[in-house]
């Protein structure tokens, strides 16, 4: 009980104390159920304070901050290259994808453009981290609604993708590979072929998930019609990524606001689903994972030769100005609003993370659902705690 405050807080505490006596004096009113901060379904330390009427949720209020690390403040006392170290740790499952918008925003302020080879490799690694991130979601969603096996498949196959990322960047989770003006290093020999075979395996994994979960009638019964988010609500809350596309909004920053990466060089499509329920979100992510493997395959065929670093000074000073740049990360739109005063480090960085907006819809969407559905919806909204709390 440390995250909220004042009078409401006190009322809340006393109501909880009353609930604790539930077996002493039989109370037929609502019950408060704390889901988290230590709970298997909260991927870390999110806490949902739910008021229940039987098993039905009356109000669900997410309480976070258990993992707030103050990255916006920390970035202000670091230089631009040092910031990427922190930024890696925002969405720790798709770390490389986090670096890209920050670096691109800094490049935009410096009016530098990375050479084409660097842009291609960036795009490949970006999509690889999407595959790694979404693969875990595909399995984890199974665990959320009780299927044990899919998550093990997910860990098994995600490992292959992480190995590929590690072979290039040296870091499984925190690559810190992107530099202003290009990349830290080039790809090693033989990596392209290996990645291709991994992509084949990831497609098999997607097929397995389709058989294990999507086609499973129990899964459909649990997910269809649960947590429906209409498109206009999704837009108002600023939902992004697959959550938005599952509500039928055809919006993908890779296609609609490509900041110069190689997505426009390959043939792919944006998947949407009209239903807006948990099943639609799962389905869209499954298709996106598969699409990402195809994007990687195509990109691997056409890596242009050339340098991987543009000419940038050794000590990077970003000219004064402001820039907002966002990309379509695995979780949704991740953007960095950088204010520079011509210093070695940013003056202010606003990190717009997808999970923060995606989870802010929880009080709206969880009115009147059952406790098991709370877990389904949380799972299908797919958040990462570091991405909410920053």
């Amino acid at each position: 009980m440390t995250a909220t405050s004042d009078r409401e807080q006190m009322a809340y505490v006393s109501s909880q104390a009353a609930d604790a006596r539930v077996n002493v004096e039989l109370d037929t009113g609502d019950m408060t159920l704390n889901i988290g901060p230590q709970h298997p379904a909260t991927h870390g330390t999110l806490r949902l304070a739910c008021r229940l009427d039987g098993e039905q949720v009356v109000v669900a209020e997410p309480i976070m901050g258990y993992m707030h690390r103050g990255y916006e403040k920390l970035c202000e006392v670091r230089t631009y290259p040092q910031c990427t170290t922190l930024i890696n740790r925002i969405d720790w499952l798709g770390s490389f994808a986090n670096e890209v918008p920050f670096i691109l925003a800094a490049e935009r302020l410096m009016e530098v453009e990375a050479p084409p080879r660097a842009q291609w490799i960036r795009t490949i690694l970006f999509e690889l981290s999407r595959v790694a991130n979404l693969a875990l979601f595909l399995g984890d969603m199974g665990v959320q609604i009780g299927a044990l096996t899919p998550v093990f498949f997910a860990f098994r196959d995600r490992e292959r993708v992480l190995n590929q990322i590690e072979e290039v960047t040296g870091g499984r989770f925190h690559p810190n590979f992107d530099r202003i003006g290009g990349l830290k290093d080039d790809i090693p020999k033989g990596w392209v072929e290996e990645t291709r075979s991994v992509m084949v395996k990831m497609r098999t994994f997607c097929d397995e998930m389709e058989d294990l979960l999507v086609g499973n009638e129990i899964f459909q019964a649990r997910c269809r019609g649960v947590g429906v988010i209409p498109p206009e609500v999704a837009l108002g809350y600023g939902l992004s990524g697959a959550n938005l596309r599952a509500s039928g909004v055809d919006w993908d920053l890779r296609r609609d606001a490509n900041p110069g990466l190689a997505w426009d060089q390959v043939d792919w499509r944006v998947w949407t689903h009209p239903d807006g329920d948990s099943f639609a979100r799962y389905w869209v992510r499954l298709q996106e994972t598969r699409e990402a493997t195809h994007i990687v395959d195509q990109l691997l065929d056409g890596i242009p030769s050339g340098p991987i670093m543009a000419k940038v000074p050794r000590i990077i000073k970003v000219p004064a100005g402001e820039a907002y740049l966002s990309t379509e990360n695995p979780l949704g739109e991740m953007g960095y609003y950088i204010v520079s005063k011509g210093d070695l480090g940013p003056f202010r960085v606003k990190i717009r993370t997808p999970s923060f907006n995606n989870i802010s819809i929880v009080p709206w969407v969880m009115k009147g659902v059952y406790v098991p559905d709370v877990i389904t919806i949380l799972g299908s909204l797919y958040f990462i705690l570091g991405d909410i709390d920053r």
Binding site: A3, E76, G238, V339, D343, K350
Partner: protein, 233 residues
């Protein structure tokens, strides 16, 4: 690609955003204080604090119905600097003894107050983003836009605890991240970052010089050894 392409791009006028700017200078009227257009990148509009909610409504009705984020900027200069050696701050190679110029600029779209609120909105049909700014006056209060975009709810709570800006009409401005007993507003520039104050910067250490009175003696010793070895070190 690096040589020609950017030149061509900048040469192209950004018609989409220019038309938008013309449209908004008309529909927002006097509420629009200043604007800034970065071709092919972004469009900034600064509106008056009184018209903040109405401007957001106007912009939303013009098709900008996708809410990106809402945040604030503190334009003050941090008293502690970046907690590091000032020499390093100004660059290792350069030798400028000029006093560090205090940069009082307030970014694109300008601004008069210490705090600014900004919101980012998208128009999906135009595929264009837009950043709205407003100054926060002495009373540190602006109207909430929670009624226009429900997603702004949490963003306003965050801005409230991080900068101490109040939002008129917001029912639950309780902290989102910080513990109840936390004092201060961490993202304000005058809020000290303890982690950087409790420990000295290791980079401030310098290499120990040879004491002057020993220099000649050491030099002679080295030369003697050098010659004794027949010139091969």
């Amino acid at each position: 690609m690096t040589d020609e392409a950017p030149a061509e791009e900048t040469a192209l006028p950004d018609e989409k955003r220019e038309a938008l700017l013309a449209h908004f200078s008309e529909s927002l009227g006097e509420s629009l204080v200043e604007s800034h257009l970065q071709p092919h990148e972004d469009l900034w509009l600064r509106v008056t604090a009184e018209s903040w909610q109405d401007s957001i409504r106007t912009v939303k009705s013009a098709g900008f119905e996708y809410f990106g984020f809402l945040s604030a900027i503190d334009w003050d200069i941090a008293p502690e600097g970046r907690y590091e050696d000032t020499e390093f701050d100004s660059g290792l190679e350069e030798e400028d003894d000029e006093p560090v110029e205090i940069d009082n600029s307030t970014g694109h779209g300008g601004g008069d107050s210490r705090f600014q609120i900004l919101a980012q909105l998208y128009s999906l049909s135009r595929q264009v983003g837009l950043i709205l700014k407003t100054d926060v006056g002495e009373d540190m209060t602006v109207e909430t836009i929670r009624d226009v975009f429900p997603g702004a709810d949490w963003h306003e709570r965050e801005a409230h605890e991080m900068f101490g800006i109040s939002f008129r009409g917001h029912p639950t401005l309780q902290p989102l991240y910080l513990p109840t007993e936390f004092e201060g507003h961490p993202l304000r520039k005058d809020f000290p970052l303890l982690a950087r104050q409790v420990k000295p910067w290791p980079g401030v250490v310098d290499i120990e010089e040879i004491p002057e009175h020993l220099e000649a003696q050491l030099e002679a010793e080295v030369m003697a050894a050098f010659e004794a070895n027949g010139g091969a070190s």
